[in-house]
């Protein structure tokens, strides 16, 4: 199945019963899949009149304690930022899938990794973070979407899946996981306060100092996430001196470059961050104790490059190769860049 369908199916199996979406290329099949599949699963599908409406439907359902999601692509994700900021401020769980297309502005419908900054730095206004995963296969897109709902509930925080137009449309075999029967209890949810004290969900704190305290509370949560939820993969890490660093679709292409390079006798490896926030700084820094050179490859002008620089500092030589605006690098192209450095 396609990535659009796989992420939809993963959500349903993770117990998500509310999907609010709005069409945008290249994620239209997501909305279409959910329009019949959600109903079949006994859930609720609503096609909203705009992306803003969809994310605020998510806001409402999440506050009521539901497992809920939305999906879109870059320009649509921009429109959702206010809602994502509200979700983060109110500590509400939700899963948001971004099938990244090239920008800025209208850009193009071609795949890109140009939303890395937006995804990993909060995205909307205010001091907040969203857990962000960058899957690189349809199976991983399925698995991470399935996991995302648990993490969203566990930390009461929005989780972003940052895929792209390739992963949205490409078809691969997917091994499904079991449909979740038991979902976590949410005593904080707004479910009617008969027989209990009323719950409050809010992000407005006007009393001096109270908002600062709230922000410190969020910061402590983010720190916990940074300690526990880092995910990455290394490929040929034992004997490599030269490492490619790439995530998502780009990491698959980089893997191809590693395989080709090794055939030519090069000691080439790959470091692939899976969680983009929290970023695997420590693991990468450790790798830099052995690796001499690192080449960051992205489908953008160098966004994750900043995180790699933070991680490695001056421990090793770091350089960048990127293709913005919908350009997709080939393994051959990457190898050529490797040989230059």
């Amino acid at each position: 199945m396609s990535g659009n369908e796989a992420a939809g199916e993963a959500a349903i199996r993770a117990g998500c019963r509310y999907y609010f979406g709005y069409p945008i290329t290249p994620q239209n099949q997501f909305t279409e899949y959910m329009s019949w599949r959600m109903r079949e699963a006994g859930g609720t599908f609503i096609q909203s009149e705009s992306e803003i409406a969809a994310i605020n439907m998510v806001f409402g359902a999440s506050a009521a304690g539901a497992r809920v999601m939305t999906s879109s692509s870059s320009p649509g994700i921009s429109l959702k930022q206010e809602g994502i900021s509200y979700l983060a401020g109110c500590e509400l769980p939700a899963v948001i899938v971004n099938m990244n297309r090239a920008g800025p502005g209208l850009g193009d419908v071609t795949p890109s990794q140009s939303d890395y900054f937006q995804a990993t730095r909060g995205g909307g206004h205010g001091d907040y973070r969203t857990i962000t995963f960058g899957p690189s296969s349809i199976q991983e897109l399925f698995d991470l979407t399935y996991l995302a709902f648990d993490l969203a509930d566990k930390y009461r925080n929005p989780v972003l899946i940052l895929a792209d137009g390739i992963l949205a449309q490409v078809m691969e075999a997917v091994k499904f996981k079991k449909t979740k029967k038991r979902l976590p209890k949410k005593p904080w949810a707004l479910t009617g306060c008969k027989g209990r004290k009323p719950n409050f969900i809010k992000s407005l704190f006007l009393t001096p100092g109270v908002l600062e305290t709230h922000n410190w509370k969020l910061a402590a949560k983010y720190q916990k996430i940074e300690e526990r939820e880092v995910r990455y993969e290394t490929y040929y890490s034992e004997d490599s001196k030269f490492f490619l660093v790439a995530y998502g679709s780009c990491a698959r292409i980089a893997k191809g470059a590693v395989i080709e390079g090794r055939k030519e006798g090069m000691r080439l490896g790959l470091f692939r961050p899976i969680s983009l926030w929290p970023f695997p700084y420590k693991a990468l820094a450790k790798l830099a104790e052995r690796g001499k050179k690192f080449l960051v490859v992205e489908m953008n002008l160098g966004q994750m490059f900043d995180d790699v620089k933070i991680a490695i500092g001056d421990k090793a030589k770091i350089s960048f190769y990127g293709r913005p605006g919908g350009g997709i690098p080939t393994p051959k192209e990457i190898l050529k860049e490797v040989k230059k450095r």
Binding site: P23, N28, T31, S35, W36, E49, S50
Partner: protein
């Protein structure tokens, strides 16, 4: 109104070579709207088939100053352009009479762009907003919109064994515009060029905002042979599925009254999106649609003083 001979002598402002589908009504509508303009025009088009297919860079089918913005922004963008023009005119830096036309599909107009359109009309910018209404989000793959009629099958309101296509009736946007006390609002269809062009002329002559909702068949999304575009457009008026009228300063006028009102099934059966309605189990739904059309038509006749 300009006759056919005069129109044929006017300069084409939307030229061939664009990549709209064969039989797409949107191109026909845009061309006729521009032909009706006597003054120079500035055009804003929101995202949609019309924009995507006519402006594949570095090519453009538009022979007018043309601007694009995302789905929800056509009315806001043209507000800004018109405000700048008025300011330049007031300062004496420009003396030319220029008209401003915004084109949006039903997605960009009925749904995500409604807020911007409402704001622009309330503020009173002098511009014509054309909704080329193909009754679904055709550009992204035929998803339902609030302009999609009840019973039509779309990719997000698919006709299945349990639910026979879209459940809700469509929104009446012209009436919403009338509620803004807009000086001129009208409906039109691609099949009636003389009615359409007369209305555009009136709209552009209006000193203030004007709005036209133009039924625009999509051969792919509606499912009909490309050569039937105009026939289907006329049939919509003849069955009163899409009545042709205008509202001038709050007064309703019928601009086309079919000699014989034809049953709505004649319109429905021309399009694959309604195919499932002709299954025996959906007979009741066809009756509901016919009743709805009749009811709306009667209300309109009353508003137009035609009873």
């Amino acid at each position: 109104m300009a006759n056919l001979k005069e129109l044929s002598e006017r300069k084409e402002l939307l030229v061939g070579g664009h990549r709209l589908c064969p039989g797409c009504a949107a191109g026909i509508i845009a061309r006729q709207v521009l032909l009706a303009a006597k003054e120079p025009v500035v055009v804003v088009t929101s995202t949609g088939c019309l924009e995507v297919a006519t402006t594949i860079f570095p090519y453009s089918a538009w022979k007018v100053p043309w601007f694009h913005n995302a789905f929800e922004n056509a009315a806001s963008t043209i507000s800004g352009i018109e405000a700048a023009y008025r300011s330049l005119k007031r300062k004496g830096k420009i003396d030319k009479e220029i008209r401003f036309i915004a084109f949006g599909g039903d997605g960009g107009t009925y749904d995500i762009g409604l807020q911007a359109l409402s704001g622009a009309v309330e503020r009173g910018h002098r511009f014509l907003y054309i909704c080329y209404n193909n009754q679904a989000y055709m550009n992204t793959g035929i998803q339902r919109s609030s302009a999609t009629p009840k019973g039509a099958s779309t990719t997000t309101a698919p006709a299945g064994t349990v639910i026979p296509g879209k459940i809700q009736f469509r929104k009446d946007l012209t009436r919403i515009m009338v509620a803004h006390q807009i000086p001129y609002a009208a409906t039109a269809t691609a099949g009636k060029w003389n009615d359409l062009i007369t209305k555009v002329e009136k709209a552009l002559a209006t000193d203030g905002p004007s709005f036209m909702d133009i039924l625009s068949s999509c051969r792919l999304g509606w499912g009909h042979p490309p050569e039937q575009t105009l026939t289907i457009g006329r049939l919509a008026a003849d069955t009163c599925f899409w009545p042709l009228y205008e509202v001038v300063a709050g007064e309703y006028h019928l601009t086309y009254k079919p000699k014989k009102k034809r049953p709505v099934t004649e319109w429905l059966k021309t399009q694959a999106r309604f195919k499932h309605l002709f299954k025996p189990e959906n007979k009741g739904l066809i009756d509901t649609i016919q009743n709805y059309v009749d009811e709306q038509w009667q209300k309109l006749l009353k508003l137009c003083g035609e009873e």
